[in-house]
Symmetry: D2
Subunit: 483 residues, 4 copies
């Protein structure tokens, strides 16, 4: 038995290749399946099994691509009711892979059809050695049960039982292989460490300390971070079987004039993935800004329109390719062209541009004490805002700006802030799409502002639990109100 771990950042996704001497299974594959094929070739094993723990909500999985390229079979819960050819699994089923046995546990909670796979290495013992838990259990956290709003309580209760009646029945020494790490929105506060053990989590995972289902349910259904728009979309794509990567449209190289002409068609959205400094300097009017170096895929899935073809502006060709790869990971499959030569070519073609103003921490401080009145718009999530914010800032989470922009006054100067400058630039690009022209962005965000020593202007709620995100919102509010 040999286990290889694959990790992709941003969406913080872990997948695994579990190999015997000649065959192997891939668990929860990413969409770029060549990594598994190459690795299997290097190891001299054949990919024969593709195991899905569940219908992933936060990314488009590579099960169809991998099956197409290797001939391996796809295994997934019967209850997932998948459209593609697969082996439908239920509780108690087991899969043999040479001298390994994978036993199926139904562990609903994060999603209704969620499975876990308990691994037994028969060469060593008949007791379990590890368990692929998908998004049921994480390092320091558990899967969110609130992604299907109507079923949140019901799923939270199921999650409680999946954890306590199934996974925690396993011995302490069993290794835990989750499908996500720190940074994923499938949980609230995972650790950076990729793997753990049943015993360590049993003892030190706060979400597992609730003795009482109702408190557990409450903690996981109240004040949760928002779920991005694409979460339900991806689930469904994964159930239907995603389009094969090889069948997606290629991204056309478009010179400035061609690009401008394509822009004028109906059903076109523009996407700029350069850093926020360059975006601030100059951009094409009407564009969405999503910094490729930030949490690009999550926000791409979240805010970009799905009914339009997308034209891309990136730093260079390599970055354009990279942007497209990340976009496809969250099901944004319609990037059909990119601006050849980038913004430099655009400027030399003499076409129209726009810009926004970047302010440093110091500039913002000067502004707060200056004569010009302005709206300080904090676009972070409510929990982040609750933790710490600058006095006087109002809070509209960036994705909500798509509709809530009309709560703001176009005649006023709007200064956007987030933690670093990325989400606020996305917010600025949304406001500009809706006719706001007096828009500023705080480079470095609240992080820079506090680093510069201006924290006394912030309202800060120190979370008594130490870990900011684990705290639920009402606790924070209580603290805050008590000040």
């Amino acid at each position: 038995m040999l286990l290889k771990h694959f990790f992709i950042g941003k969406i913080a996704h872990s997948s695994y290749l579990l190999a015997g001497k000649n065959c192997c299974a891939v668990i929860d594959p990413q969409r770029n399946v060549d990594v598994y094929i190459t690795e299997a070739r290097k190891m001299g094993v054949e990919i024969t099994h593709i195991l899905q723990t569940h219908l992933h909500a936060d990314f488009v999985s590579g099960h169809m691509d991998l099956a197409e390229k290797t001939g391996a079979r796809i295994y997934i819960a019967k209850s997932a009711q998948c459209s593609f050819d697969h082996v439908a699994l239920t509780e108690g089923d087991s899969i043999e892979l040479e001298d390994m046995l994978l036993q199926v546990l139904e562990t609903p909670g994060h999603t209704p059809e969620h499975l876990s796979y308990v691994v037994i290495d028969k060469a060593r013992s008949d007791s379990p050695i590890g368990v692929f838990v998908g998004d049921t259990l994480f390092v320091g956290d558990v899967g969110r049960p609130d992604l299907f709003p109507d079923m949140a309580e019901e799923l939270a209760e199921k999650l409680y039982h999946s954890l306590h009646d199934k996974l925690l029945k396993l011995p302490d020494y069993v290794e835990v292989y989750p499908a996500h790490g720190a940074g994923s929105l499938c949980g609230r506060a995972m650790g950076a460490k990729w793997r753990s053990t049943i015993g360590y989590e049993r003892n030190f995972n706060s979400a597992l300390q609730f003795k009482d289902p109702s408190a557990f349910i409450k903690s996981l259904t109240e004040d949760m971070p928002p779920a991005p728009d694409h979460f339900s979309r991806c689930s469904d794509i994964n159930r239907q079987g995603p389009a094969l990567i090889d069948d997606l449209p290629t991204m056309e190289e478009l010179g400035p004039s061609q690009f401008k002409e394509r822009m004028s068609a109906a059903n076109i959205a523009l996407l700029d993935t350069r850093g926020y400094h360059a975006f601030a300097g100059q951009h094409i009017p009407g564009v969405w800004h999503l910094d490729l170096n930030g949490n690009f895929p999550t926000f791409a899935g979240w805010v970009l329109p799905t009914d339009k073809d997308i034209l891309l502006i990136a730093d260079d060709y390599r970055k354009a390719l990279e942007s497209n790869t990340w976009a496809r990971r969250v099901g944004v499959d319609r990037i059909v062209g990119y601006l050849d030569g980038g913004m430099v070519a655009w400027a030399m073609a003499g076409f129209e541009t726009s810009h926004i103003n970047l302010t440093s921490a110091e500039d913002l401080h000067d502004m707060t004490t200056g004569a010009t009145s302005f709206v300080l718009l904090d676009v972070r999530a409510p929990l982040e805002y609750a933790d710490t914010h600058i006095k006087g800032a109002i809070n509209i989470p960036v994705a909500e700006l798509r509709t809530r922009h009309n709560e703001l006054n176009k005649d006023k100067r709007i200064v956007l802030i987030c933690s670093s400058g990325n989400r606020s630039t996305l917010g600025a690009s949304i406001l500009k799409q809706h006719g706001f022209n007096n828009v500023y962005n705080v480079a470095g965000g609240l992080t820079g502002y506090r680093a510069a020593g201006y924290s006394r202007e912030c309202r800060i709620c120190v979370n008594p639990h130490g870990s900011r995100f684990f705290t639920n919102f009402s606790e924070v509010k209580r603290h805050w109100d008590a000040e």
Copy 2:
């Protein structure tokens, strides 16, 4: 806390990068330290600590290179008495790395100065989360205590106590990070899996089932596989501080004539790292054969002379570089030139060559029933030979052929066999150096012979424990005698 694992095959060496937010430690680094530097840069952390669990016997470690290139400090046991600048550790010491704590356990046994590092992730708990055990405990095995023949029993006893009184005192859920995996000669029968947990090993590691130290000691001091020659050499190199990679001589490109001229100098050895098929076809007289695709580094460290400059013949330039990298990993630092153009250029220069005969399984079978008498020489380890061999084969382990060649008759046809064809070719090259001219090699070895259906000619001792190597030799012999 984030843990990255690095593995190199052949010597089956595991090293680790343990990172916090800004700093990281590298545990038991390999000699090619750029992999850590690149990874740390990608993660945005600085390498500040270099931790050695012990003086590695089977490879030259990269502690000096890594310290030179990063400015990080080296941590190692005080009792190792190292010559280079280092922090000397003893039981109870601890090292802080951001919110992690590494507690030092003295765990002698595999070597006298061996340490283990218990990791506590203070962000989650004050209880241990994992332990870097070096070569004390492996997945399914324990470290060999017999590498210092005079101290074998003493070390075996210490090992017993290091395991039972220290490592096994840790909770079941603690993760185990060893320095080797399957294939390493630092143990006898490790699993392919890279990591484990205290609880799983406590329950299912056969070496931990001895209730009584004396049985444990016996099992680890009798009938052990041989220790390659370089094991004591590498320990010492690691204690002194190995030469920096950048200071080693570059490998000169030598045309056939230059190569031939250099060959004639005193203190020159020749090394051919092509596959055994090509070697059989034609080679330079007097050369050592070590297939780069086989367990090259172990046998390079084991048999190659250390007091000579080495000239290399490889498939091509890329393979020559690769051969040199692997050789340096085991302290074979004196490869000073390679044959430019390889054996094709050599043949076109009209220089002298030699060859050996390859036989297939069928050829060997025909030979056994044929008229020509021959010696079937099995060059595998005694335990392998004990398990299964062809009736009538005599056994001289390949490394011993360096001296025991004179037990053989040069006038007879000698047919060498091992499990695959690699070690037997090495053996053939040794015999040819000593004037044997009627030498055959069995391609595919015993594996091919049995696959071809000739196993009824083999004496096979089915190991009652299933795992061939864990069984000790006397058990095998008993079985054998009972037939």
Copy 3:
């Protein structure tokens, strides 16, 4: 105007990218067209024109692939009567590419439909600056007119006029861009230099010194080197439009058992592309041997059956891919699988093998003075044989062995020799397919034999012209007879 040159070895093919500021033409593209697309992207130009000088005989061209991937138009002679969509050109046509003008000359001779393109850089002058001559004129040579045996004289005459009445009418300073360099079989004796000028060739190209057409014709129709079998095949493929690379079957990975099973099907040929040393050591019975490091594509096109699927044995996966790429360049499109794990896996599966004996120069010398009688079979081309050969050697060119094997006696020892050892191994593999079992191959060939100082055993005809291949065969024979 910017001109980039692309060269691939073995078939010694030159292609060109001729760029203006925004657009470019590719002249005589190779089948792996990504090199042009990548280069054009780096230069920031669009590929708009694909220019063919003629229907290449020695390789399958990438015109269809490049047109498919870029939308560029294909330009070729009307008289080529191509099946695919193209612009049909005749004498006097011209093509504008920004400030460049390409004027079409009909220059039949090497082939009937051959065109040359005279380039004018209008930004500098209305006089020609260079000429794409395809296979009409080479550096130090001219194109062979004998590839269509029935038309050899007619084409040679046309070639004379194409050269003297058209190309040599251009000014001395005009640069000459041919489609081949040294090593190509489209000429007899090209220089290694890739380009030249009209004036230099006018003065120093021996083929252009004939004042009289009939002598020129004679020199190019008598005693020419043979034309490989695929030459007429490739012409036709290029006329029809080759299959797109993306549509060709992928090469399947086959384990030894699968491979063996596939071997037994009808219409299967086996191809081994390892070096001749490894092949001699051991190979699968019945295989064709073509060393990937030798002139692989030419002999692959020449001797491999075109009506069979081909199974491949190579050094490793990377070499298998490389073998397939080269095979496709000459229209060998049916490599459908390769032996995973190579000959080592084959041997460990215990399957049947064969081998041949390699001899060094010294061994051969000993043989010539030894007791065992043997046939020394020189498989080089007649002209090479005429130049120099070992006394007593008989000559059957390697490709002719496919039918002429029956001129040899199976009961005799056959020792094959060529210049290096590659063609003789191919010859040995052919003989073995026909039941010859007592086969030897001279490693290093005649080159090694002479280097070893055995040249007094050779009959050497020193060509009075210095350049061996330019000399025609009758001259050689005359010399020879005069000895």
Copy 4:
């Protein structure tokens, strides 16, 4: 004889590898000599000769690095009086390289010690086949003789004779291999094509049409483009023998706080190589801006202080490495650190920043008709300005801004323009160093402005010769005055 050409952009430098069967020469090597070593290895030849045509003024050459790494000898003019070990050449010397002969011509003019090497391929003829002309003759241009202001006329006269009495004495068909192509400041108006022939240049190179030395001299000494500061510096470095690349200081990774601390030391300059859009968005006060994607090396050599250590801000680590490589090519060897995490990390550290305003073509047009008065500062070279400029613009070439900034009024809004936006950003960064705070930059420059259709606001002098740069300035002025 085989000739390989190597080209590096920006400084538009051509170097060559001239190979026989076993040996080769490198002519005018660039400083990153691994490209030659790798190529020679691939070709199977040894680098034995390093030939310098002259002491290059525009880049630091790799002769010392290449000699150190290969043992090859350096050949250069005796009159260069070089400090390092070399073979000193004078007129009439010749160098044998297998069957090639390189004859030395002294061709002073561009520099006093300039040599050309006439190549004879003795295998084909005793007449010359090509000539390495260095910076004496270019495609469509000749070398500038004005780089040593005191000797300009003298050198121009020598150049006339070098061209007419030596190079043009060669036959028309001789190939010309210059050391530069379009974009180099060693000439005024070279073609993009890399090579030419004596005959073509004789006929169509305007600089060779002067029948009379004095007119030629006048044309090359009046109204020449300025010579960057580093031109004399590089000559001298190349004479002394540049420091080996391996001996230069490595570039340290510096976090924002470390960077800020290092900034405060004396003798530190800051360099920002991001694109101008990002620079405009935000930058560190006091920095020099030089877009890595523009003509970075020329301006780096030209304007950066040579007596200071340089700290670098780049897009990312890869770009930082690339910036350093380019800087070293022009002798800027003191980049000692870079900002780890770039401007994003800087902003998140809350440190001080600055920005400039980017305007589009449309913005500039609006400004010209708007109420706010401003200075339109054209920072291109005088000849460019003379050709076309916006009415009312004043001209100070960007490098002169280093001293001429005090001709401008700090209280006024300054709008900088060049052809694209790069040089104007450099100019803006210089002005900001000197206390200008109201600074704008025109993105897309005059190119965008004219593309946007605002050319009627430009004064345009259509050069009667078509080629803008060949025209000398007085002609332009005459035209201009005649309007």
